[in-house]
Every structure is written in C-alpha cells, then in structure tokens.
Symmetry: C2
Subunit: 254 residues, 2 copies
C-alpha cells in the first residue's frame, strides 16, 4: 500500500504504520505502479485529484473514491481522467462526525455497507476488483447504479443529517438559551451527525440537491401529519405513527 | 430505603441489593414510615398510586415522582393526595430508550439535569427536601414552575422524540424496503430515542400536547426553510443553518 497525503505530518505518521509500504511526496508519484487507486477526499476534490494523476497511471489502472455522492461525481471523474484510468465509484458507509487521520480505527469498516457503482463503460472485471477491495475490509458491498445510490443515501444519510441539523438549529435560537442546561442524551444523540464536517456536507448538498428534495418533503409531510393529529387531539393517530417508527427501528437493531 | 414494586420478582431482586433496606408486599405498607416517597411510574399511573397511598402516609410526608410532564400532573397528584401528603414534582432527566429494573445503572443520574417544581402551597422546606434527594444522587437540580418545565421539555426532549420517530416513520414505508441494508450509524443514532417505551410516550404526548405543538411548528418551519433554500439552489443559506446547528451542538459537548 503506497500512501500520499496532502500534509507532510500525516505522511510521516502513515509511514510508521504496519500496513503502509511507502509514502510519496507527490500524488503523481504515488499512483505510478498502482493497479487500484483510492482517492479519499471531499467530493469536490475527487475530480481535481483524478485529473492530477491521469498522466501518471499505469494502463488499465482503476481509480475509485470514497465520496458520499455518485451520479454527478462519476461523470466529472470520468471526464477528469480523460480515458487514462477506469473510474469506479465507491461509497463505504462508515465513519462518524469526526474526521481526519487522528480518528482512524481498524474496525471502522467491518460489517458496514459499501456501495460500488456500475454503468456506462465500466467492465465487470473493474467492478469485481473494487468490490474485492472493500470486501477484504469486511464491508457488506452492494453494486448499484450511481443514480440509485444517490436516491438511497438522500434518505438514509442526507435526510438524517438535515433533520439533526434542523433540530439543533431550532434550539440554537437565543430565545431558548435558558433551555440549554436541560439538554440531555436524547437531544445529543438525535443531533450527533449535525456536528459533522461542514465542507463535506456543502459538497454533498450541492451535488445531491435533486435527490435530497423529495426526501426532505416526505419528512416535512410526516412532521405535519404528527402536528395535525396532535392539534386535533388524535392521540391514537400520533401513537400509530410512533409505533411504526419504533417497530421499524427496533427491527434494524435486533 | 424501602421498596415496593408491582412485580414480586422485581421486589426479590431489589431485596438482594445493598441500598435496599426492606421490600414490602403492598404499596400502602411501603410508605407508612416514609418522610419522602418517590413514585417511579408512568405519568398516567402517578396520581393513581398517590391516591392509593394517601391514607397511609405519615403527617407531613412529601411525595415526589419522576414523571416527564409536570403541570397537569401536579394538579392531578395534589388532588389525588387529598391534602394527606405534600406533592412536589420531580423530573430527573436521565435514562435511555430502555426501561425496567434490568437496565439499572448506578451512574445513570450523575451530572444529569433534574427538575424540581415549585408553586402553589408547596413550602420552601418541602422543595429543599426533594432538591436534597436528587443532589445526593449527584444530579444538577433546577427548581422551576411546572409550566416552565413543560415548555422546556417539549423542546429539549419531546420534540427530539417526535423528530426521531418521524424520521424512522419515513423510512418504514414499504416502498423504501430496499434502502434498509444501507442504514448505518447516522440514521440509527438520529432515531435512537424513537425506540422508547410507547406507553410512556402516550402519556407524555397526551399530557403535554399544548406545549409540544409550538415546538413541532418551529421544527416544521425550520425544515421548510431548509427545503426552500435547497429548492432555490441557495447552498450558502442551507450551509448557514447547518453551521448554526453544528456550532450550537459542538458547544454543548465541549
């Protein structure tokens, strides 16, 4: 495994780790003998890096990524490579609200879902190579179209993020400042993802806007239904919705 | 500490614990020598138990509770006691989505916020007695009016619950069944509280309906603002809201 990282101190920290065979000073140098290149960078930087390495790739080299959106990114990254490498999108769904090398964890990926996206000119062999990489890290790999990926993550990841951020935003109003001492684990867990890296979320929201909108609308409709039932004193109807939500989640953690 | 619990097996488990001096077969018997009675029961059962023990209380005995709503409950419990005990509402804000004796934890209360509610006929001495009890468990005790309590918990606790339940309800739709394998820690944390005990939440929602409605309306408005900004491609406006939400939460966990 050959590592290039933007910051020199991260490169020297990596050099000391068992799994790292070599670090290089430039990104171009790092890819020259690679069969598989994994770009771990914010969504907006992935095509930039793909463009930077394209002339240094071995013929037939596969380039993948870990970006949180896939459809537009696939088009941009393919275009950035100018046919000098095969771009296969990946999205390992593991991580936390913390970012950076300092929060690395060897069990981070194990058992977690990972998307690998197919379509266009991408050969079955190239897909298999990338699937094999994430499977070796014990991830639960699913091959989908980039568009299907974007719709799914809009609901399972981007909607929870916007919901958590919205809830935190409600309480952030200075008129509720005196509520702060009473905030406990319930609120903190419900809003945990709202502490995520803003630059990463800017990229996601910009790229996946069209898929996020219907998810957000469904959430608003659901909250409106709860509000309307409550307003009319229809406690059974509110509880019916809470019961479905609970039962769905309880099944997930079983 | 004298314990009465509804189920005999819980009573015999308690009897084996160091802090338990005695268990009694009936609730009436358990309170006869008590200066302070703590009713740990769902909100709808608290006045029922208060009524059941009233004729067995020592003169001047204080009765408190751990219910999640306070205004209506104070009125009902005072009325149930018929002047034969002083009702002082408490709400220790600790716990998890799990309920019951099996999930007891000696560090559960430490450092967590606890409300004690004042007002009406309640003497300063009675308040101090109850404050002292929760302080001895290392809780961060705040004395408020019952109405103020209900408004605060509507925002810091009931709104997160309805939001988490709403989000889980959106994903529970059978048309999204194929999204389930991609649900990861982000969604699970954001919805954790939605797995809470339904009976408890029925009581809370019924009793605190009027305070929950404005909180729910603010959440809907916030989600609508996010949706409108997104629809108009105003990424900076979306990010401004996310930034405020993140900064508020980051300060809480500092």
């Amino acid at each position: 495994m050959i590592v290039w990282a933007r910051r020199a101190e991260v490169r020297s920290e990596c050099a000391r780790l068992e799994w790292c065979d070599e670090t290089t000073e430039t990104v171009e140098e790092s890819v020259k003998d690679a069969d598989l290149v994994v770009i771990c960078a914010p969504v907006s930087k992935i095509p930039v890096l793909a463009h930077q390495i394209k002339d240094h790739l071995k013929p037939g080299a596969i380039v993948t990524d870990v970006g949180s959106t896939k459809h537009k990114l696939q088009i941009k990254s393919e275009s950035a490579l100018e046919g000098k490498g095969i771009f296969v999108g990946s999205h390992p769904m593991a991580g936390s609200e913390k970012s950076g090398h300092a929060h690395a964890d060897e069990t981070l990926f194990s058992g977690k879902p990972c998307f690998v996206t197919k379509g266009g000119q991408i050969s079955k062999k190239a897909i298999e190579k990338v699937v094999g990489f994430w499977s070796a890290l014990e991830m639960d790999v699913h091959v989908t179209d980039p568009e299907e990926h974007d719709q799914i993550v809009a609901f399972v990841s981007h909607l929870p993020h916007l919901t958590a951020s919205g809830l935190s935003h409600v309480l952030s109003d200075p008129k509720y400042r005196h509520f702060t001492p009473f905030i406990s684990t319930g609120f903190l867990d419900t809003t945990r993802v709202a502490s995520g890296d803003l630059q990463m979320w800017r990229d996601i929201i910009r790229e996946n806007r069209e898929e996020i909108l219907p998810a957000l609308n469904e959430m608003i409709q659901t909250m409106e239904s709860l509000r309307d039932h409550l307003q009319h004193g229809q406690i059974d109807a509110v509880m019916g919705m809470l019961e479905e939500g609970k039962s769905f989640r309880d099944d997930l953690v079983k």
